[in-house]
Symmetry: C3
Subunit: 673 residues, 3 copies
């Protein structure tokens, strides 16, 4: 068989900010915090930095609608005129993330309620119940007013609905949410009888006799019904999506400019972005480093790859990241010189055609005044400002790669529903951690210099040489069928422990674990053997596992590594099942680092995938355009890197023949096509 990676030609272009040429550059801009004279200064400095798009009015509801139904657009008219005059386009927000104080007074029921019954009050941001009709009505009104007024403004490039749906509050347990939850459940399950079956209410005598008995999973004496919890998580994501869709549809009545909202793909557990990607005209993402973490550029790459997947492979926008430290982590480590450019261009390398920041100018007051900005408190007399100007120029040099695509032979399955379900109460071990496992496998692929896609469960896998499914606890029969076809057709599949266990309702697949994957993996897990805190097991060949082991019985799978000690001593630990033209690997314990790399090398061989022979922490990614190919080399190390490559280096305009030197901490972009 032959593998065919997805080709650019298969992918329609996303809608793109109207009137913005080249790579988009800019950030959130909150001029309402500053006197008018600063606006003029800002426009001039934006020009110096090469900014071509700013996001405005995100938190301006009360300024635009100071009293119910009374609008004041004067300041925003002035601002858009000024920006247009300065050649800066506008990504205009519907300011619905912070309702005005008057709306809370008139409708206290829009306040969200926690699982324990704590009513959250206004005073910060994003404090609203997405199911409250009063909130939805008021949000639609302001969105309509903004849409009507600015649809035709020449500065308008696109619409930014709301802000970061799903954070910091992802769920509301109030009575209005209960009503909406019941309606959502009727839609999903059809009848109360079906709900009783889906939720397994014969367990612990929880059977419902009337729809009005159904409530959100509020605080209760001990572990609640997991199917109820899981449906509630789906409902929460869907309620936010309904909010988004309502505002988007209002805007579309007036405007053909693209509509989006900013995601936080790898870091927002409460929203299932697979269901959101198709609802935006262009995918936009916010990404912030976990500042204290080691090698956090790998997490950045994972975020970028997942964002590209949510965008269906099409170019996307980096809507927010930071020039330096944020202010909401425990210790807000500043970025080192060079890091800002490497971070920015790493996103571009993985499909971003926009590089934007929170925020243009650092606030003097409020909760985010210690968040970095393009223009820091120390102003233009600062390294950060100089780096921002330099980055603007660099992005200008990369204009031609806009619209080019990233290809991958390897895919990793990402699944919000498995994440949710796996981390509900009363699992076999508190050390089971969905995101940790995905990140561990991703890290190995990154270290092997293998570019990878993310795929949704059940998505067609044809064209990938290798597919990795980490901790896919919830595996619907359809997803399992796709894996089976994929392997039989010659694919290589790698599955980690605690995958394939339950169906859509968190019910264990019948017949022995892993019910959905027994056949494709050629084995049965007779008993889970969670390990003690800190306990380690040795494997044949010297590897070490922790967290988890299993008593597994192969039915066709061959043993690759076995347990040398621990509760499964002498039993298979890692197996490989040849099935049809392909093979399915299974890892029954938690491997990390070199031990995990060692096992994966076997899978790479099966898949015909070749890790690149490149220095550690030198990141190499390609974008493919219709006429050219672009090679990004990001040197995250503190020594110069030498790479075999030829072409034109776009940032410097220099020509490279055969050997490219990328100085320590810097980035090169070669047109090689």
């Amino acid at each position: 068989m032959t593998f065919v990676a997805p080709r650019p030609a298969d992918l329609a272009d996303p809608l793109w900010p109207v009137g913005v040429a080249g790579v988009v550059y800019g950030g959130d801009y909150n001029p309402e915090q500053w006197p008018d004279e600063v606006w003029e200064q800002d426009a001039e400095l934006m020009r110096q930095a090469g900014v071509n798009l700013v996001s405005v009015a995100i938190h301006s509801w009360v300024l635009l609608e100071p009293r119910p139904g009374e609008f004041d657009f004067g300041w925003l008219d002035r601002l858009l005129d000024l920006l247009h005059g300065a050649g800066v386009s506008v990504n205009l927000a519907t300011p619905t993330v912070v309702p005005p104080a008057w709306l809370y007074r008139a409708h206290p029921e829009i306040r969200p309620v926690t699982r324990d019954g704590v009513v959250l009050e206004r005073g910060s941001r994003a404090t609203f119940c997405p199911s409250a009709p009063a909130y939805r009505r008021a949000a639609a009104r302001i969105a309509r007013a903004v849409g009507e007024r600015y649809a035709a403004h020449p500065a308008l490039a696109m619409w930014h609905v709301h802000n970061e749906y799903g954070a910091p509050v992802g769920a509301c347990y109030c009575p209005e949410s209960a009503t909406a939850f019941r309606a959502w459940l009727r839609e999903r399950h059809g009848s109360l009888e079906a709900l009783n079956t889906a939720w397994g209410t014969t367990f612990w005598g929880q059977r419902y006799g009337d729809w009005d008995e159904v409530e959100p999973p509020r605080a209760t004496a001990t572990a609640g019904n997991p199917a109820q919890e899981l449906d509630f998580l789906r409902f929460c994501s869907d309620e936010l999506l309904a909010c988004y869709r309502a505002e988007r549809d209002v805007l579309r009545e007036h405007s053909s400019a693209p509509v989006t909202t900013n995601f936080m793909t790898t870091n927002c557990k409460s929203v299932d972005y697979w269901r959101w990607g198709r609802e935006v005209d262009v995918v936009a993402n916010d990404h912030y480093l976990t500042a204290e973490a080691d090698r956090n550029h790998i997490d950045l790459a994972m975020s970028a790859d997942l964002t590209r997947a949510v965008a269906g492979g099409r170019p996307w926008m980096l809507m927010e990241h930071s020039t330096g430290a944020v202010n909401w982590q425990p210790r807000n480590i500043a970025k080192r010189p060079g890091e800002l450019a490497r971070n920015s261009l790493a996103h571009v390398a993985r499909g971003a055609d926009a590089v934007m920041f929170f925020q243009w100018r650092a606030s003097r007051f409020g909760a985010e005044k210690f968040h970095s900005a393009m223009l820091p408190h120390s102003g233009t007399r600062s390294r950060v400002w100089r780096d921002v100007v330099r980055l603007g120029a660099d992005l200008g040099s990369l204009a031609e790669l806009r619209g080019s695509l990233v290809r991958a032979d390897v895919a990793v399955v990402w699944d919000w529903e498995s994440w949710w379900a796996l981390e509900l109460a009363w699992r076999p071990s508190v050390d089971l951690d969905y995101r940790e496992r995905v990140a561990a496998f991703y890290e190995q692929l990154w270290d092997a210099h293998l570019t990878c896609d993310f795929v949704a469960p059940g998505q067609d896998l044809a064209g990938y040489r290798l597919v990795v499914a980490p901790s896919l606890y919830l595996t619907a029969p359809g997803t399992a069928a796709v894996f089976g076809r994929y392997v039989r057709d010659g694919g290589t599949l790698v599955v980690s422990y605690f995958s394939g266990i339950v169906d859509d309702n968190d019910a264990v697949h019948p017949g022995g674990h892993p019910g959905a994957l027994r056949e494709v993996l050629g084995l049965e897990v007779e008993e889970f053997l969670p390990l003690r805190a800190g306990e380690r097991v040795s494997l044949s060949g010297g590897a070490t596992g922790d967290v988890w082991a299993e008593n597994l019985r192969p039915h066709g799978a061959e043993t690759v590594l076995e347990y040398a000690d621990g509760p499964a001593a002498g039993k298979p630990a890692v197996t490989r099942h040849r099935l049809g033209g392909g093979s399915a690997w299974y890892l029954s314990t938690r491997l990390r680092g070199d031990d995990l790399a060692g096992v994966l090398r076997g899978a790479y061989r099966d898949a015909g995938v070749e890790p690149a022979d490149l220095p550690r922490d030198v990141e190499v990614v390609r974008r493919h355009g219709p006429d050219a190919e672009y090679l990004f080399v990001l040197n995250h190390t503190d020594v110069d890197a030498r790479i075999e490559a030829s072409g034109t280096e776009l940032l410097t305009g220099g020509r490279c023949d055969g050997l490219l030197t990328v100085p320590a901490g810097t980035v090169a972009v070669l047109r090689t096509g």
Copy 2:
């Protein structure tokens, strides 16, 4: 003087499951989770496993009473007929632990409220206010309906009221509880004046002028009134007991079968089982290992011994334990091969005549689907199933020992009230830990192969050679008097620090610590000297203490060990007071392991108690029948053990003369009488 251990003849038999011969074997059975065809399969598999009793309908309220006052018994009729036909008897529950959803809608006041005012909603289990009249009325109605219908069913062997009273919610602070608390207090204290005195309300100006001012100890600014807290804990235990008694009395109107409810003796702080033991016809206990703990078979033995004590020395039922991992601990470690049998037979060795599990068949859905079962997810193709069948056969071989008793020369005082009071707020050190101290002394006795009883405070101690009272913080004058008589009559008493400090109302006994025990111990504690976190003190002879020290002044006691350093350097640390014919030992610091063993050896000599010379972790216990004695040898090690003994080994039927070999990890039971 001579010591006389309690003799079997003194003990009346408990009521026992009707029609179940030999040792009881079985588990919780929840057929409502499965289609009817599985029921037939289950009956056949129960036969194969030797199951003779199953607990049913524990969570079936809403199925039996789908609408208020409308009953549907069809499915339960069918089930009981089927089981009876298969030779399996039924332990039939009153399903009152999970009220139907309709009861919550009609009576939201049955929801319990936490100390902080959080209302707990239905959605899990055991989420009800035991003082709510609406709950009590509805519980009595369903108990009556079940009692009437099944009293005469031939499958009925006994009644299982409710489930695990006291967990996971042990207290409710709602207004209905407040009303009931006031009534309880009137009963206890008689007058408001007496309440004011008992609670010491002159402290912090808390005097009550009206009964309606009295409330449960809800969240307040800082530490509350400890006497109020203590009475509230008593009230909570009594309210649950009142719930139990009401249901039991309803059943007794219709049936003479034994009535019980399942305890969790060593692990449920919220219920004072000394007050419950006399209210059940047979004591039943649930025990689950702390899976990650080292040598957790000692904790199991402690639980079994305390259960036997609660049963007044009579045989009891192990109502729930697990075949493997549970699902509610942080890391649910599976049992190793052999452990299931050792655990089961250790309970039998210490007086259990029933071995039952939660649960017969693993659930596919709900919160407990990862809890092990007799029939696991992998079905009969599993080691666990094979071990379950084997255990059934083994218990069959032990039928003759039913009714035999355990004798002990040593007793440990266990006291829920001291546990409660010692761990209230604002004690001298947060490192004071009631259960830790009891377990530490118990471990020493277990390691010395000394079988021990537990006794309630104030219980007659005649017949015991040695009595240990760990951390008996709350010591009523009557309890102190019993200790005095016991020692004067020749007994040996061992008391640990922070005993004898307060009376029933948590008031310090006057005249210097330990007020209730100064005389029997022959000393006064001038000042408590709690130690810093991690601080250790050396004692003469090389022992090391931590957590606690004291400035104590002997008045008659001799110094056994003194402090070599630390805040009490040069003062007595361990003392011994000869009083009448006996002696009273006092340990003023926390000793563990060999250091504690060393001190206890002195007490053993005083008591004429001889530790057995047996290998570590080989557990030896005897049961005494009217005609024979049964020697249990449980080998918890991984090497074979050889014990001098003669008789018939009941599990194999083999004969042993002089030397019994018990292979690593296995159990032998010898008829030696």
Copy 3:
């Protein structure tokens, strides 16, 4: 220029307990907990101990007013007569810290509410909303009744209003508090427009259109408005102060005896004592050691010095400390022999003219029964009692120093507002810790045997040779101006990182950090560089910093030490700016111990301040009277200390010429004037 330390003559005497000669000695006395026969005993024992003042009726509201408006003073009349007869004066409380149960029933709205909405119930103490009109009315009524009845009683020496305002509850978020908060804000800001500006409500769209929209900063989705939080903290302190003032003014209608309330200067974050000091006739303070902490006598000294500052340099009263262990810390370590006397006399050395304890006699019941007392549970047969009697005699020998004052050349800036603001949400690092930094600098001064004053921000600094401003995050322009004048006039200023950042509204000073101090320090901080948990940076000269670093650019300052590694490698770490006649030092990283001492030695040289050459942990302080000087030498070590000094040792009456020997663990007081 010349330095002039504040002179005694500048300081008016505080009002002092009427009729109490010499140093005040005594404690809290709660006779209502004991039968009358104990009262007689107590009076006799007080005489033996030299007690001359006791605080009574602190928790007696319900006893004095058993029903609304009905008073029962009989027992208190008897008590005061008895005490007067025994020569013991009375510090009589308004018993408003614990409202009677009947007030809660009649006015449930007096219960405080937490940020999360939890209603705190009565049951402990100090559980009231200071803004509730019902509470204030009832408090005024009982204060008036007590004032009227006892103003003329001969035992009355002073008034003790309430108890420990601000603990354990410092804030209430109820609707009554919201109403009061709005009134307070109108007073502070004048107009809603001014409030919007001060709070920066253009950030996150939080603008107010109506006063009724303003609420306390209750639980919200994420970080709230920091200016709102800061104003709420000010409001909470002011509401408590209003409670105090109302009661004081009621008392003053009837009595000219001094009125006070007990502070907890260094340990109560919720109250800004700078605003309280001027409102009491004599400053009274409660101090409790952090029992487990190493060298906690330094914290004691800091508390005493801050209390003296709050008292404007005048003598003050130690209203509560403990004879031994308290009962509310995790591990309540008892005091070692000698510690009680050293603690007591250390307070006297630093300006206290009263030494009082919580409590006279240990309670038998209630939440504080394990708190130590002058008369412990073991009564007079105890070391503690003997030490109490000895201390009474010692204080008698020191009568002549009453009214003498302490002088210092060094001052440390203490600021509750910086403490509040620095520790609000979303600062650059969670490791920023206001109190830790103050204590770290204080410890260095203590170790250098330099007596120091505390000063409020903005207070005139003339007369001090050296001023230290640790973590003065909130620096108003006026405060900065004082620093500028001080340095230009020849002073030496030491400032630590994260000082001078924001104004009164937590808004960043414009123009680059540290906005308020750029000029005086001669530098700009371009970027904060918080360090990772546990990360350390090396400085030139071998010092090591952690927690924090900065990218700073000198504008006039010279580099004293530079970073040798870490994110600021090669940049200045410690700088010194010569300005006018003085110098301003800046420490941009967290230094401790010897590293901090090393830097400070440079500042001492600039300031002309000379650390004394004395053994470590030998504390030497002087009090200055009009005719004599008193040298306190407190030997906290376990070896004898020899000090060059001459004079009369007041405790022994002995004469010392040239060399004073202070035995290990003891104190000497020399009249040297």
